[in-house]
């Protein structure tokens, strides 16, 4: 069963590379923000799976919770900033 979580984690890491393409090459600023948000969501799940693989899930759950909170606050702050200021890449 640990093997199954390990392979799922590897697959999620490959999906994170695809999201990284949208983050790096997005046409607008919100595309980049959205790609970073998707990568953060996948990272939360990946940290939990790493806890299963390392047999220290009680420690990794706290890290995952803190990472999810940090991801949420950063995305919310960046989108509020663009809401006040407008996107910079548009005439």
């Amino acid at each position: 069963m640990d093997r199954m979580f390990l392979y799922s984690g590897v697959y999620i890491a490959l999906l994170m590379l695809v999201s990284l393409y949208r983050t790096a090459a997005g046409p607008t600023t919100l595309d980049r923000l959205m790609g970073a948000n998707a990568m953060g969501t996948k990272t939360t799940i990946l940290i939990l799976f790493m806890g299963v693989v390392f047999h220290r899930l009680d420690m990794f759950v706290d890290i995952a919770l803190a990472y999810a909170m940090l991801n949420f606050i950063s995305v919310l702050a960046a989108s509020r900033y663009f809401l006040k200021r407008g996107l910079g890449d548009r005439p």
Binding site: F5, V18, A38, T44, L48, F72, R80, R90
Partner: protein, 109 residues
Amino acid sequence: MDIATGVLLGIGLLFFTGGTLGLIRLPDVYSRLHMAGKIDTMGSICLVAALFLYEITTFDLAHVLVGLKILLVLFFVFIASPTACHAMVDACLRAGLAPWVKGGQEDEP
């Protein structure tokens, strides 16, 4: 319990794959946000539920406490991900990005 964990893992990975493919393939920012918001939330909930079932298979106090923390992660993802998606859509609308229409933008004023 192992079968339920495997089925939930499969469903979650399927939703993650669909969301990431939509994040690459769809034409404009609103449809991509639809993918990133809903499908990633559903995939996260399925995967965390699979992890919860795997954790409470050995049923004692320490494992149940860790399972409750995992449920806390699930609750937080369930609250936070649609809120972040709504904030991004709000910023998009305020910035005045035009939604994608079939056949180009010739009917824009």
